[in-house]
Symmetry: C2
Subunit: 511 residues, 2 copies
């Protein structure tokens, strides 16, 4: 097994080792059933602490790529990834050495992170488990028949024109629909300021490419959505995290950070924040807008879940409060309708819009006009509104059920958010419980979730987890939470047994 | 009209002015019917030569954004772009100044080019003209009914699973199909090395992002596909162009350039090259591979048109000759099937593949699994092969017809390529004919094409043009070529009248 570590890289050593092993599994150099070296041996070989290797192995165990058998060692799991044996296929030329790619990649020398973690997460969706991970809407509510009908209508009405190239900005009919919809939310815009993207991830990435040069500072909530921070980091951005509480991003500390760090951008998810589910209060929205106006900082408003409110009053988006045109707003149909159609949109001031359109062309020319036309037809027939009304009821019920079960099954001292919309619930276990340990045991019992530290830009939050409840029935929620709660309780007791009495009083109170 | 020019920018002044005006039209600050300042006046205001402004106006006339009326002036055309009046919509806050975005964009300080030209080209497709521009397959051959049936089958067979998120690398069934197809072309690969992309443009851009740091050198054919050079340039690459002749890229000069410039990558379109239609000979393919092996330079092989050969023997792709795994190969279903489904694929060595998948996740998570499944169904039912057989006959016939009409209508001294496949014919007019002048007159008579200098990385080729014939009937080809030929003849005579006899002998012979 060839793993390299670079002590000068800003990427933590344990993560370098983890990524190195994951990559070898991904490309088939490590095959299912292969045994990994003992942690002590690998540590010696790499010249690192044994605990560093143990941390890397634990991450891989949690991701389901490795499994551990007492007294036998650590192995690549059978389910890890279906990698076809390539041995029969690849010719081995005698004369030429294979190309060595190390050192050729952009940003490699600076140790820039190009994260591929998300794909490994999907291992969990392949297996037959109760999955609280990912951020999947309820599949059983997918309006398959209606969408199929809209697809066929679009083909009939638009014909070959939706099978040709389309202008980079997107299908005019859909842009007009979205502009009308935006205006109904007090966002003043025109179709000429709306870009259609492949989900909101593409909006984030096009914006990142528009603005970020290596070394630029970006302010985000901590924790936040890793798809955004991955994009920023891939371009060499430095990140500053602002803590978040039940009222959203803590604006108090923001002014000082702006003055000291001159951030290029602020990225935030003000409504039904991912991963916590919290919503930025109206008061803080005004405070935030005052600050960014004063210091002229552009704001990227990730509005992925605006349509998923199932209780409480609507709060104006930042874009609706934006008199200086410095907020760039983007949404998606992935969480509230169908992830697989890959359609989102972005509302941007003209100067930014022009650059986004150019980068969209460079990126992939245009989003499929066929899917745009089908979505337009779907919205025009008010199928989207009807779908929203159906799923909001389902999600509210599931949230209520989940909260009641958290109360029943989880150990004293556990805290959780009670979101008024969206698909996520954020859980904070008593400090001593490590959610990586929790995940390793839970996986063995057929339950997976997303560990909270993966959303933290500083790797903190080892005792936190995100539970995505949108795609689980009450039976699954009950079973899954019972298993998680009982393991968490066990881990808490175990850690308390290890803690001598004299220290126990110094632990934080479990509120 | 607010236009700014920056004499320190590497972007030519005329292009800065052109882009500035185009942007104002795009965002609606200049409205259809608005009159532009006289060239003399604008030149004085900007402190540039009058010819610089004239060149900028000519470009915009050629793009159809402006129209010129003798004795009246130059105006924004009615058809330019449908920009809704925003005056009624935008609130003008009294207290706050609107955000100023200039200076905030990545790479702006270095004058990095983010080109948005392609969108302006599309103006020509909106209007009712005979269009030799763009690179559109024959629309009347679109297999709409069959594709619709495959869409419906895919929804029936895969159900909700193609409306969820999909792994970033793409739908396994389609990757397996493509791996089998690649192997039938002597490309040794596995599904685990195939990434599904949104057309080949996304493959180009993900590869560019994987490798290019600002200042890196990329070798390309000159002329070449601007979608590729736009992507490279947006990341700060420097370009070196190698001339191309009827045997493809001239490999003779390549070794010296490699030794002197240490390019990071070589990008080329070896088969049915865009824009010229030429194909790299087998001998040169071997020479190229010998060189890149010797100097370990990665090769990006753009195989957009491999399936569009309508005569002559197949030539092995560079990837099929690649024993050192240093060629990255990508194809698309845009030219040979349907541009609007936005599906291409990329074959990459494992080390590169891993990075591409990570960047694909960062870029847009995944390509729509619904469209991937429909395409897979379409291929599985051998509808793709049947479609290819139909269109190859059409394209060969159109090429033959076109070549015969070039012979009839174009002035003596015109040269053209006779491609064995693909959708493009490359025309070289006698040196004195400027294709910008040609386009301005042709447009008035309802004919448009792509000017050759737009494909040249050095702006040369003012006497060249690309004629895309795939989507024109014989009647349209005849009418369009007659108009182009007669204008070209007129322009040639006019220029000869201006040239005194003593100079005329110094012009290049018209072969």
């Amino acid at each position: 097994m060839e793993i390299k570590v670079d002590t000068k890289s800003p990427v933590p050593l344990y993560l370098q080792i983890k990524n190195g092993i994951a990559e070898q599994i991904l490309v088939g150099k490590l095959q299912p059933g292969d045994r990994l070296p003992a942690t002590r041996e690998l540590a010696r070989r790499l010249g690192v602490n044994r605990s560093t290797v143990t941390n890397a192995y634990d991450e891989l165990l949690a991701d389901g790529l490795l499994s551990s058998h007492v007294g036998q060692g650590t192995f690549v799991t059978i389910q890890s990834l279906k990698v076809e044996s390539k041995k029969d296929l690849i010719l081995e030329p005698l004369k030429w050495q294979k190309m060595v790619w190390d050192g050729l990649f952009a940003g490699e020398a600076e140790g820039r992170t190009i994260s591929a973690l998300l794909d490994l997460y999907q291992v969990s969706t392949i297996m037959d488990v109760i999955s609280f991970s990912g951020s999947f809407p309820d599949e059983s509510s997918f309006p398959i028949a209606e969408f199929k009908s809209s697809l066929n209508h679009a083909l009939k009405e638009f014909g070959k024109s939706v099978l040709k190239y389309e202008q980079a900005a997107g299908l005019q009919a859909l842009r007009e629909h979205l502009a009308t919809d935006m205006r109904s939310r007090n966002i003043i815009t025109t179709p000429e300021n709306i870009l259609i993207t492949n989900g909101s991830q593409q909006a984030i990435d096009l914006l990142a490419r528009s603005f970020i040069s290596p070394g630029d500072r970006v302010v985000v909530e901590n924790p936040t959505y890793p798809g955004a921070t991955n994009s920023f980091a891939s371009l060499g951005a430095k990140l500053t995290g602002i803590p978040i509480d039940s009222q959203g991003m803590q604006i108090d500390s923001l002014e000082q950070i702006i003055v000291q760090q001159h951030p290029k951008l602020i990225y935030l998810i003000p409504t039904f924040h991912n991963p916590t589910g919290y919503t930025l209060s109206l008061e803080r929205r005004h405070q935030l807008m005052d600050l960014v106006r004063k210091y002229k900082i552009p704001v990227l408003e990730d509005a992925y879940g605006e349509d998923l409110r199932y209780e409480g009053r609507e709060i104006p988006s930042l874009k609706a409060l934006d008199v200086t045109e410095q907020v760039i707003y983007f949404g998606t149909f992935s969480k509230n309708l169908l992830p697989g159609i890959r359609i989102g949109w972005c509302v941007a001031p003209s100067a930014v819009f022009t650059r986004l359109v150019a980068l969209k062309q460079i990126g992939d020319i245009t989003t499929s006009p066929l899917l745009q036309a089908a979505l337009w037809d779907f919205c025009r027939r008010r199928r989207y509104q009807a779908h929203l009304e159906r799923v909001r009821v389902i999600y509210r019920r599931r949230r209520d059920f989940m909260v009641s079960k958290l109360q029943s099954y989880f150990p004293l001292g556990t805290q959780w958010s009670e979101p008024q919309g969206g698909l996520f619930c954020w859980v904070k276990l008593p400090n001593k419980v490590d959610t990586t340990e929790l995940l390793i045991e839970a996986r063995q019992q057929g339950v997976v979730f997303s560990r909270g530290h993966l959303f933290h830009i500083d790797g903190s939050g080892q005792n936190t987890l995100r539970l995505s409840f949108g795609n689980l029935t009450e039976i699954e929620l009950d079973k899954g939470l019972k298993i998680l709660g009982s393991i968490a309780t066990k881990l808490l007791h175990r850690s308390e047994e290890r803690t001598p009495d004299k220290f126990r009083k110094n632990t934080l109170p479990l509120v």
